[in-house]
């Protein structure tokens, strides 16, 4: 299956033109790179490109094909996706729901809304305590609380859905 690689707004095709041992000749979009690639630690690669020594660290996610790739200061969020899927891809963008996820692991110390409440942009929703700091999480827009998936004193994980707000 033909695969495309996405990074931010970029979408490029990747093609391996040649490989000999650790040496790869690879085309990405319309540019060609000759790279010497060696895996040095779990998820850590040493790459030589025209003499330059580049270290990249790859962190896979639960979603197949999704990677966070770290260079020295930069971090790229990259998706490898089938070429077919890209055309009709309309996910998330026009969603009329606001899904409030836990921005970090922590404990719910206060729940400030209940189902059916109308909220504005900036309305406080929950207070989440993590690592000794209390963090107030507010609504990013107008709407009605359609679902609350947590309760006070719950421990939540980073990214866990807490509240659903219908616009």
């Amino acid at each position: 299956m033909k695969m495309l690689v996405k990074s931010g707004k970029q979408e490029k095709a990747v093609k391996i033109l040649k490989k000999e041992g650790d040496l790869f000749t690879i085309m990405v979009g319309d540019r060609t790179y000759e790279l010497d690639i060696v895996k040095v630690e779990e998820g850590v690669y040493s790459i030589l490109h025209q003499g330059e020594s580049i270290n990249m660290e790859m962190i896979g996610s639960d979603q197949p094909g999704n990677y966070k790739v770290n260079t020295l200061y930069q971090s790229y969020n990259i998706d490898v996706v089938p070429a077919l899927n890209l055309a009709g891809n309309g996910r998330a963008k026009k969603d009329s729901h606001q899904r409030i996820k836990a921005p970090m692991s922590g404990k719910i110390v206060k729940l400030k809304v209940k189902e059916g409440d109308a909220v504005e942009e900036g309305t406080p929703l929950v207070v989440l305590s993590a690592m000794k700091m209390e963090n107030e999480i507010c609504s990013e827009g107008k709407g009605v609380v359609s679902k609350i998936a947590i309760k006070e004193d719950d421990l939540v994980k980073d990214g866990q859905l807490m509240i659903d707000i219908k616009a």
Partner: protein
């Protein structure tokens, strides 16, 4: 005299204290909550005893249980570290009542300095300059507003029992006053079990500069020079350095004198820190005295060569200080960066989680005090401090370059950290020139958060790597399905990533 020390703390400071115990030939007893069974201080100590469930109130703040463990483990002294019970009068008293040694000052000194309002009163009497402000705030909201108006905005709310930025709020306008007060009281109650809050004038372009004090039980009090701690975010220190690039030799001497006077006024014993605010005209005011080891003590250790934990233990054993004021010199320049598990790009929210990979910076002039290791899960219950990176060099300019080099080597994956943010601080013009005050981070936040300029080449290569890894996994998976057929194919591919030394 002291043979076995119980360390009533966790994280990097527990490990750091046990290191010095080990070097002194003392046995160490770690204590832990359920969230910390696999934490480094448990693994590193000679003994480790459970305190209770994860929340600090049931573990690291549980005085009864800690004293019970001290007795069962036959420890003869308790080191409180910083935070938790380190400035708790009851704890110090209970330890002494149990016939054990508290490695810290007298309960009276803790009480006097621990309550910030009492401390202000005492300093006023001792002739040490203090910042204009109030006593404990009254209940009446109108009265509070009136007090703030009288002092003049901006004002600072502070937990009377506070320290480490907890329970502290800067209030710029009357509108923010009451909500901030609520938050400050709540944090103060959770952190210190005491919600008393007072208010102070907020100085212009202030510097936070503190003096390290060391005193024994025989009347000797010395200072170990200052630490410049003005790089703060929400009153939480991020970078500390010594010497301060701001103060002059004359101001340094005057502040040192007042710091010693402050310590003597409470018959201080052990390690303590007298904090000052210094305004842009180099007027200095007593801020508070922390009656414990300070997070940033390593920079003082580096320029003076003195191990402060060992000195604390010796003082607690009744020994006379091993050094006189004239023996102590500041040599070269030391900088500490606090490495936090937090996400600077996302309003600095804490980032607990599993450390997937960690590479510590090493080599000349670099010290790391940490406690995390590969596979360790940073719990959500405690402080987000992962480690402290301390560098030394003969000059400030070289120390900054060394810090940048060390940060370059420091890799932590799995949780987000402020390493790139600290790297940016080291590059910021105001910091490099030593021309900064406590507003530095706020004033430069945009620049400090800016990502590197785009590098198309790196992005292309990152895309290639994702593609190769994905293909590699796909082929592996296929092979699981069809045994013989494709086997050689993916194996070959897999091997491309493995280096064979023969």
């Amino acid at each position: 005299m002291i043979k076995k020390v119980l360390v009533a703390n966790r994280g990097e400071i527990a490990v750091r204290i046990i290191r010095s115990c080990r070097e002194m030939g003392l046995k160490s007893v770690a204590v832990y909550s359920d969230a910390d069974r696999s934490s480094m201080h448990v693994r590193y100590a000679d003994e480790a005893w459970r305190l209770g469930p994860a929340p600090s109130t049931e573990s690291y703040l549980n005085i009864d249980k800690i004293i019970q463990v001290a007795k069962e483990s036959k420890a003869d002294a308790i080191h409180p570290g910083y935070g938790f019970l380190s400035e708790n009068t009851e704890f110090a008293n209970r330890i002494r009542e149990a016939g054990l040694i508290f490695i810290g000052p007298s309960a009276e000194a803790i009480t006097a300095m621990g309550d910030k309002m009492t401390a202000r009163e005492m300093m006023k009497k001792a002739g040490v300059p203090i910042v204009p402000g109030t006593d404990q705030l009254p209940e009446s909201e109108d009265e509070i507003k009136a007090l703030a108006r009288k002092i003049g905005y901006p004002v600072m709310l502070k937990a009377s029992a506070g320290g480490g930025g907890k329970g502290m709020r800067l209030v710029k306008t009357e509108k923010e006053l009451l909500p901030s007060l609520l938050r400050a009281r709540s944090e103060a109650r959770n952190a210190f079990g005491n919600e008393a809050v007072y208010m102070e004038k907020y100085l212009l372009e202030p510097h936070h500069i503190e003096f390290q004090i060391m005193a024994d039980n025989h009347g000797n009090v010395v200072h170990l020079f200052e630490r410049e701690c003005s790089v703060q975010r929400r009153h939480q220190k991020v970078i500390e350095e010594t010497p301060s690039p701001f103060i002059t030799e004359e101001i340094r001497a005057a502040m040192a004198e007042q710091a010693i006077a402050a310590a003597k006024s409470v018959n201080y014993s052990g390690a303590g820190t007298v904090e000052f605010l210094v305004d842009k005209d180099r007027n200095f005011y007593f801020l508070e005295m922390n009656t414990r080891l300070q997070v940033e003590h390593p920079i003082t250790e580096r320029v003076t060569g003195i191990d402060l934990v060992k000195a604390q233990i010796k003082v607690a054993s009744g020994e006379v200080l091993a050094f006189k004021q004239e023996d102590i010199a500041q040599r070269g320049h030391a900088i500490e960066a606090r490495i936090y598990a937090e996400d600077p790009a996302n309003n600095f929210i804490p980032s607990p989680g599993l450390i997937r990979h960690i590479t510590q910076p090493l080599g000349l002039g670099v010290r790391t005090d940490g406690y995390a290791y590969e596979g360790y899960e940073i719990p959500v219950y405690y402080d987000p401090l992962i480690s402290k990176l301390i560098v030394w060099a003969p000059t400030r300019a070289e120390a900054i370059k060394r810090m940048k080099r060390a940060l370059y080597e420091y890799k932590i994956t799995g949780v987000k950290t402020n390493i790139p943010f600290v790297q940016r601080i080291m590059e910021a013009e105001a910091f490099v020139k030593g021309n900064y005050n406590t507003h530095f981070i706020d004033d430069n936040l945009e620049q400090l958060l800016q990502p590197e300029t785009e590098n198309t080449q790196y992005e292309d290569i990152a895309m290639i790597m994702a593609y190769l890894d994905f293909q590699n996994r796909q082929h592996k998976r296929m092979d699981f399905g069809q045994k013989a057929g494709n086997q050689s194919n993916w194996k070959n591919f897999g091997r491309l990533f493995r280096h064979n030394p023969y």
